[in-house]
Subunit: 86 residues, 2 copies
């Protein structure tokens, strides 16, 4: 079976987020002064061919920890694609 | 009221995704040969101070279209933080 997943990767809370700060710094010039706490991370979508959803999810978790994210400074969430409420 | 949003930004379907291809290319060396369709995008979290959730959401949509994403090549989704099923 093919299972599609989304992986959301963010810097751990408390770590300085230069990209987020850059976005925040550019907002007032565009007229938006009511925005705070901007954090920029990554969003990865992929399809796994596996025997079961459990096996596929376990593989995505391992891929996220070893390749997609840096667990020292980042945290990640693995979601089935479509679990996000549109 | 403070409303926290998540913005998911991805290249439009059909556009070549070099980051996704790079990830796919590195997977076989790690022993994973059952992965396809890797797409790498961005995930932005931010807090809006607004009178209503509707006003806050409208502002985030405008921010996404003008600043966070490039609508020519990217598509985005605006979600209330917490709408994602963990």
């Amino acid at each position: 079976m093919n299972v599609r997943f989304e992986v959301l990767i963010q810097l751990k809370p408390g770590l300085l987020d230069p990209q987020g700060k850059a976005v925040e710094g550019s907002l007032p010039a565009l007229g938006w002064t009511n925005v705070s706490g901007v954090r920029v991370g990554r969003h990865v979508e992929l399809t796994i061919e596996a025997d079961s959803e459990e096996a596929a999810r376990a593989q995505v978790e391992e891929m996220a920890a070893r390749l997609l994210a840096n667990p020292v400074i980042e945290e990640f969430q693995v979601l089935r694609a479509g679990q996000v409420v549109r």
